[in-house]
């Protein structure tokens, strides 16, 4: 406390002294007969020199940082097929902009230095020059057309890869604050999923006949609980409102789940059985086309695999995609970099809340054989369900909660 007061006093005193000092300087200048707007020749030359120095400083920093950071060891090593083209394009762009940057800065600062004020000289009255202006409109235009052309070729390659019948489809699913991946299994199709089907043991909301029954039972139980809570009167208005909202949402959810239940006859919902759901770490086979299907549970996230030159937003309510092919296994990359602990990562690159900075998943790229082995060892979605499948869904349902559904259902 005393420290703070002392600090404030010191600051105030400093300001007051500075005011006094400034006044003295101003008076001294006045006595010397210097106008307040006048800039002496030595001051002017000094600044001109500093401008020249800053050119040295700026280009020095540029070359130093390039030397230190612009090479594969510190930049991201590439590990995907389209990434090769992307990196070439980046390098081309980098060279072009470096040249433009250096030339412009040199001219700017050199002119500023060279044409510093001189009593004996008079500035030129040089207001325009059509030829010059045409040249420097056309020149950048040509360079840009060239860059656009190159860029769009790579863009198309990246976004519209050839269709590969042997591709592996993986769902990447984001939520605050972790990633979940789902492999499509033997049938090469991901089972249907819906956000109303989400529960603690079914993060992705995969729809199978069993999960529907379980979800319905659970929701009805929740609803009954809410109803019994709402029977009491609440002094706390806010809490009461929250419970009402929760109840409304639960009814909505139950309705949607019932809709799925009604569809079981036609749609079966069995494609999800052989899916494999994983968190924290996944393996990918090398040299195989991988199609990511991306969904989000709550807010926007961004699926970012820096080493594969892959990034795509993960958007609630919309499915996005990205197709790529890893070409370097983790083991190879570790050798290449000389870092035995290196791992590929999946990061979140769109701010999504407090733990956004730590939302990651480890990616291991295996040879096809290793990957097959790894895949065999994974539990399918159905296997994960097994122990509980036998629980009859009606057992947990309170009789009085059922009518509520229909009551709130206008249909």
């Amino acid at each position: 406390m005393y420290m703070n007061i002392l600090l404030i006093l010191v600051i105030l005193l400093t300001i007051l002294t500075s005011f006094r000092l400034m006044k003295v300087f101003d008076l001294a200048a006045k006595l010397r007969g210097k106008e307040p707007y006048e800039i002496s020749e030595s001051e002017n030359n000094m600044n001109a020199l500093l401008v020249l120095l800053s050119l040295v400083g700026l280009s020095g920093m540029f070359f130093f940082l390039n030397h230190k950071y612009y090479h594969p060891a510190t930049m991201l090593p590439n590990a995907s097929k389209h990434g090769i083209e992307v990196d070439k394009l980046l390098h081309l762009n980098f060279v072009v902009i470096s040249i433009a940057f250096l030339i412009c800065q040199v001219f700017l600062m050199w002119f500023a230095y060279k044409y510093r004020y001189n009593k004996k000289r008079r500035a030129a009255h040089f207001a325009h020059n059509t030829k010059l202006e045409i040249v420097w409109t056309v020149l950048p235009a040509i360079v840009l057309v060239f860059l656009i052309g190159k860029g769009l070729i790579v863009w198309n390659l990246q976004m519209w890869p050839e269709n590969d019948p042997n591709k592996l489809t993986i769902e990447i699913y984001s939520r605050q604050f972790d990633w979940t991946a789902r492999f499509s299994g033997e049938d090469k199709t991901l089972g249907d999923a819906n956000f109303t089907m989400i529960s603690d043991d079914n993060i992705l909301g995969v729809i199978t006949p069993e999960t529907i029954d379980r979800q319905l039972a659970k929701c009805r139980k929740d609803l009954a609980e809410l109803d019994s809570l709402l029977k009491f009167s609440f002094p706390n208005k806010k809490k009461y409102g929250e419970l009402k909202t929760a109840r409304r949402r639960k009814n909505f959810q139950i309705q949607r789940v019932i809709e799925f239940k009604n569809q079981v006859k036609d749609k079966k919902f069995t494609t999800g059985y052989d899916d494999v759901v994983l968190q924290q770490e996944i393996h990918l086979p090398v040299n195989r086309t991988i199609e990511l299907q991306i969904r989000s549970q709550d807010v926007l996230h961004s699926v970012y695999f820096p080493h594969f030159r892959v990034q795509m937003y993960s958007v609630p309510g919309v499915q996005t995609r990205f197709t790529f092919m890893p070409i370097v296994t983790t083991a190879e990359m570790r050798d290449k970099l000389g870092k035995p602990t290196f791992d590929y990562l999946l990061l979140c690159n769109n701010v999504c809340g407090a733990a956004h900075f730590n939302m990651q998943m480890k990616i291991v790229v295996d040879t096809q054989e290793d990957w097959d082995k790894w895949m065999k060892g994974q539990k399918t979605f159905r296997a994960g369900l097994m122990p509980e499948v036998t629980v009859p869904d009606s057992a947990t349902v309170k009789a009085d909660s059922v009518p509520v559904v229909t009551m709130n259902n206008p249909h």
Binding site: V86, I97, Y115, Y117, L147, R249, V351
Partner: protein, 613 residues
């Protein structure tokens, strides 16, 4: 050479608008304290209000950045400074992750809107449009006053949002829903976000009232002889900025309103299929991407709304202090217009990887790279303006040269980002942070400083101290490049922005030291601003008196007396005879000829010859 300048002394001496204002009687009014300093309708006073409010907000924005730079440089290390200033947001001196996000969010919002939009346009459009056009005041002084007070309300709301229990908005300055729409998803999306939204609503109102005034004044209240092609480039820049603002800010307002509806009325414009904190939300059918389209439809023009006034100021300051006409006056106007037009059709470059159709992405690549052409023209013209000049390094001039340097550095990296194929890996990394801070943040900040140093004598009738100005400039330049230049390389290594720390990633360990270096540069740059604040306050109160035209400038604002008059000129408004860049005309003793100096006989003859050869 002589035929070169005559082309500019040309045209439109015919249009004799007679601006008879009822303003002259204002001189007799005695203003009370309240009408003079608080609810003032005088454009010069309103301009100061904008500037000072902008500076206060700028200080807050800067302090927030100092705090998060401490966190980024020395993550997880107790810091007594943070503990003292942030209290419960930094328990034990370690910053709370939610507060980190709030800090970057409010920092961005304050700098982008309160400082570089209102603080910059509000200050200099208000000061210079009437004075440089030769008008007694804005077209609608009352609306002008309202514009300031809405800005004040907006700033006030933004500040108090930092102090609410659950913390300020924390979704980044772009406030993408659903994060910003769901209080369950982040504490900052509660009351803090509500205040953010209302602050922005007030802000849009302020911008629109101001913009209407700027446009009307430029179009209608130019003095006799002041044709559009005799306007200083500053006024052109403010005019184009105001048009951009008028066309784009309403879209932000609608984006914000829909977000307010989603937050409180249960609509689903931006929400669909969301499961959060154990509940499935009923909202379905909306799309978060809609918000991004609306936001960036404002957002991209907004970045030019920030930059263009700075470029206008730079044009003026460079020309005055090189004692040379600005090179390519018409090309400068044309490129401003081109940039303004194109800025409405490039917004998609912020959204290449949102799942947008790749073909649409290609279109945005094309339009985005087009915008680089007029930008390049401007840079080249600035450089040529210096060529064979006779340069006087006032602090304003140094900042103007700084603007050009930064505009080049930040502009070229835009080309990389514009290439969608490259943006895939660079989006939301520090490369983007480096790009836009240099080209927009720092460049515009430099433009603002150039303007303050240059027009301070016009605003306060006193001079700022040059020596302190030099120290301020050089430290700020070193700070700015030192902070943002290395960030490019961090970005190229794939380091994401808006991360609270990087300690949990082995692949980013190599950048811990560079983050400390950056933070140190930030502290240098930050402290330099204290010198500026001191210089500003001291000079406003005690600085030496300024003469009427300290920089030997040609434009009309320097023909008005130093004393503040409501109505600007005591007698008749000066008539304009020539363009604003008659510097170093051959055959004259003085190296500048003010705009209200009639043409000599010889010049008139040359003009006639030019018109009827």
């Amino acid at each position: 050479m002589s035929d070169m300048h005559t082309t500019h002394v040309d045209s439109h001496t015919k249009d004799h608008h007679d601006h008879v204002h009822g303003h002259d009687e204002h001189h007799v009014h005695k203003d009370s304290f309240i009408t003079k300093y608080i609810f003032s309708q005088d454009h010069k006073m309103i301009s100061k209000q904008f500037l000072i409010t902008g500076m206060i907000m700028g200080f807050v924005g800067m302090m927030l950045s100092m705090f998060f730079r401490m966190q980024l440089g020395w993550p997880n290390q107790p810091n007594p400074i943070l503990e003292t200033f942030l209290g419960k947001w930094a328990p034990g001196g370690i910053m709370d992750p939610n507060f980190y996000l709030t800090a970057v969010t409010i920092h961005g919002t304050i700098i982008v809107f309160m400082v570089l939009t209102a603080g910059l346009s509000g200050t200099f459009s208000n000061l210079l449009i009437p004075l440089q056009c030769g008008a007694r005041d804005m077209a609608a002084p009352f609306l002008n006053m309202l514009s300031y007070w809405f800005f004040f309300i907006s700033s006030f709301l933004m500040l108090i949002s930092l102090f609410v229990e659950t913390g300020g908005a924390s979704g980044g300055w772009v406030v993408y829903p659903p994060l910003s729409a769901l209080p369950q998803a982040a504490p900052g999306s509660g009351l803090g976000m509500t205040l953010w939204l209302f602050s922005i609503v007030a802000f849009v109102v302020s911008v629109l009232l101001g913009g209407l005034n700027y446009i009307t004044t430029v179009v209608n209240l130019r003095t006799k002889g002041m044709s559009m092609t005799k306007l200083p480039l500053t006024v052109w820049a403010f005019l184009i900025t105001a048009i951009l603002a008028l066309m784009s800010f309403p879209v932000l307002l609608s984006a914000g309103l829909l977000l307010i509806f989603d937050r409180s009325l249960g609509t689903s414009f931006y929400l669909s299929d969301i499961f959060v904190s154990g509940q499935a939300l009923e909202q379905t059918g909306g799309s978060p991407i809609l918000f991004q389209h609306l936001f960036w439809f404002l957002g991209h023009p907004e970045v030019y709304i920030i930059l263009i006034p700075s470029l206008g100021i730079t044009s003026e300051v460079l020309s005055v202090n090189s004692r040379k006409p600005i090179f390519g006056y018409r090309a400068m106007i044309a490129s401003l217009l081109a940039i303004a037009f194109l800025s409405f059709i490039v917004w998609g470059h912020h959204m290449y990887i949102t799942g947008m159709n790749p073909f649409l992405g290609s279109v945005f690549v094309f339009t985005t790279l087009l915008i680089a052409i007029p930008s390049a023209i401007k840079a080249f013209n600035y450089i040529t303006t210096l060529w064979r000049g006779n340069i006087r390094f006032t602090p304003g001039m140094l900042f103007a040269i700084g603007v050009v340097s930064l505009f080049i550095t930040g502009g070229v990296t835009g080309l990389v980002l514009a290439d969608s194929a490259l943006d895939v890996n660079l989006h939301n990394t520090y490369f983007v942070v480096a790009h836009f801070h240099i080209v927009m943040g720092v460049a515009s900040m430099f433009g603002t400083f150039a303007g303050v140093y240059h027009w301070f004598p016009r605003m306060f009738g006193r001079m700022m101290n040059n020596k302190l100005g030099y120290v301020h400039f050089w430290l700020t330049l070193v700070g700015a490049y030192g902070v943002f230049f290395p960030m490019h390389y961090i970005g190229l290594a794939g380091v994401p922005r808006r991360y609270y720390n990087y300690t949990s990633f082995e692949i980013f360990q190599g950048f811990a030291d560079i983050n400390q270096v950056i933070s140190c540069f930030a502290f240098v740059g930050g402290s330099a601003q204290l010198i500026f604040f001191f210089n500003f306050i001291y000079s406003a109160i005690k600085g030496p008196r300024a003469p009427k035209n300290p920089w030997n400038s040609t434009t009309l604002e320097w023909t008005a007396p130093v004393e503040h008059l409501h109505g600007n000129w005591p007698g008749e408004i000066p008539t304009v005879h020539r363009w604003p860049y008659d510097y170093s005309l051959p055959g004259r003793e003085e190296d500048f000829v003010t705009q209200d100096t009639p043409l000599t006989e010889e010049e008139t003859k040359q003009l006639e010859d030019y018109k009827h050869p």
